[in-house]
Amino acid sequence: MDAAGKTGDAVKDRLAENEAKFVDISGVHKLFGSGKSRYHALAGVDLRIAKGEFVSIIGHSGCGKSTLLNLVAGLYLPTTGSVAVNGKEVTEPGLDRAVVFQSHSLLPWLSVLDNVLVAVDSVYPEKSREFRLEEAKKFVEMVHLTPHMNKKPGQLSGGMKQRVGIARAFAADPQVLLLDEPFGALDALTRGSMQDELTTIWESNRKTVMMITHDVDEAVFLSDRIVLMSNGPAAVIAKVVEVPIPRPRTREALLEDSHYLEIRKELLHYLIGTGHAAAA
């Protein structure tokens, strides 16, 4: 009895530990090139993301934040150190780590539905064509693009394209969602409505998310934690800021929240300070 209870606790502990470091980046260095053109992008990055957590990574351009995301995606491999997701070492890209690319990266010769189907087909290769079509349509509907599902990406606005990118990523049914400056190329108004849409989707479907951004408001509005990176080369994590604002969040409520301005100020102070250092 006693022994069994102990092993049960041990399993639970391990599960809890596993969930606390669902994404586990430890001691990661990343170097590009060799000889004189060698570039030290990341110099010892440690970061743990819990299951269901929304973490933003913010920093000046060239600070290696996209490199970090590509390492989790498996598009790059660390020079030293390790990256693991759900206890499994990352050695190659996979459906369990779906990426929403900054440049939306839709295949321009495929319709909206077919672009989403690309992910669905990979998740359910053994299911019937009808099932996969229905599944893809569900995700097109999730981003409210059903009336446009037969259009080619070239016929869509920037915001719509990025919504297809988001639908495709969710359709892959990933364990971790990687957003690489997903709204960076959009105008301010579209960006706001896309952020609202993303929170709504995320609230109903709490995926673990790692998002790269350089928009402070976006980071505060969406994240549970914000990771500030130092300037490159040899970037490290400079600071981690918790965002204890209750969910579901709305923009109006955010303005009332006492934490909001404080966090915003803290982030801006850091970014402006490092910006001067970088310019000098």
Binding site: P93, L107, V118, K152
Partner: protein
């Protein structure tokens, strides 16, 4: 390729008064304010000045007139140019001591050839239609082989660094060899005229196909490669959904250059190999001093070459459309 080329339809139409689909979609989205707006305008206006009266009748629509004028110009100008060249040619030919027959003499002298392209008086005396058809058949076989093998080899050297390093220097040398230089080797190998001519077409057409295909494969944008990696597009799905559509514009450029070169080469090759075919027909006409027949044949060669080019370009435009 990565530029925004995908929205040519949207802007221009909205401005024009006869805005077809675009105007409609706006009305569909917000029908009430539009209708309300129209009504208030109508009640304020006198019944005689209906909105339609303000628009010019279709025959006076300036945009339509401009378009008709443009169309007439693209039709009339080439005809004028042809007439001018013909006149110049006729004047030149009518001078003393000029062997070249003028356009009128050409049509008179070769009327039998122009009017009856499908006559057949045995293997040595066939109409121009048959001559062109047998040349086209040779080009068809040689070019098809070159297209299939060229695209395959292009994909291999585009995808494999090893294959590229091994084969590229060889290809760079071989592609500069003039088509006819291959003919003796080809004749020695095949011992027959027909396969030798087909081989010359094949070897002429394959280089631009290989080189353009491999460049197209090498230039698949990193974005698409990343999508393929993350969303696990492999094997045939990668081939048909990423690689082929991405490289298609390059492949078709190669195919289009190749069809032009193949048609250039066939005339020369046939002059040397003989038999039925437009090349040998021209050579034979020269040996029998039938100048007007040569001129008619050359015009046909040009027209067929243009048609072949347009056909490949048309197919390319069906596949090569890509907006981002």
């Amino acid at each position: 390729m990565i530029l925004n080329t995908g929205k040519p339809a949207a802007p221009a139409k909205g401005a024009s008064p006869v805005a077809g689909k675009n105007g409609h979609s706006i009305i569909n989205e917000r029908p009430k304010p539009m209708m309300a707006g129209l009504k208030t305008v109508e009640t304020k206006m006198k019944p005689k000045t209906a909105p339609a009266a303000k628009l010019p009748p279709p025959s006076e629509d300036p945009e339509r007139i401009a378009r008709a004028r443009e169309r007439a110009q693209t039709l009339i100008m080439p005809i004028l140019a042809i007439l001018f060249v013909g006149l110049f040619w006729e004047l030149y030919s009518s001078r003393d001591g000029v062997v070249l027959p003028g356009p009128i003499a050409t049509i008179k002298g070769s009327w039998n050839l122009i009017a009856h392209p499908w006559f057949d008086n045995g293997p040595n005396d066939k109409g121009l239609g048959w001559q062109l058809l047998s040349s086209l058949a040779r080009v068809g076989i040689g070019y098809s082989l070159a297209a299939v093998l060229g695209v395959l080899l292009g994909i291999i050297i585009g995808k494999s660094v090893m294959a590229f390093k091994a084969l590229d220097p060889i290809f760079q040398v071989l592609r500069t060899i003039p088509p006819l230089a291959w003919l003796p080797i080809s004749l020695a190998t095949f011992n027959k005229a027909d396969p030798s001519a087909i081989f010359v077409i094949f070897i002429t057409a394959i280089w631009p196909i290989i080189i353009n295909t491999s460049v197209g494969i090498l230039r698949i944008p990193a974005d698409y490669e990343n999508v393929a990696k993350v969303y696990q597009l492999r094997g045939s799905r990668y081939f048909f959904k990423v690689m082929l559509p991405s490289a298609a514009p390059y492949i078709f450029t190669g195919l289009r250059i190749a069809i032009g070169m193949a048609w250039l080469a066939i005339v020369a090759a046939e002059m040397l190999t003989g038999g039925v075919g437009i090349g040998f027909f021209i050579w034979d006409s020269w040996n029998s001093s039938r100048m007007s027949d040569i001129i008619v044949s050359v015009v046909y060669v040009g027209l067929i070459g243009l048609t072949l080019d347009r056909i490949v370009a048309k197919i390319a435009s069906l596949f090569g459309t890509r907006g981002d």
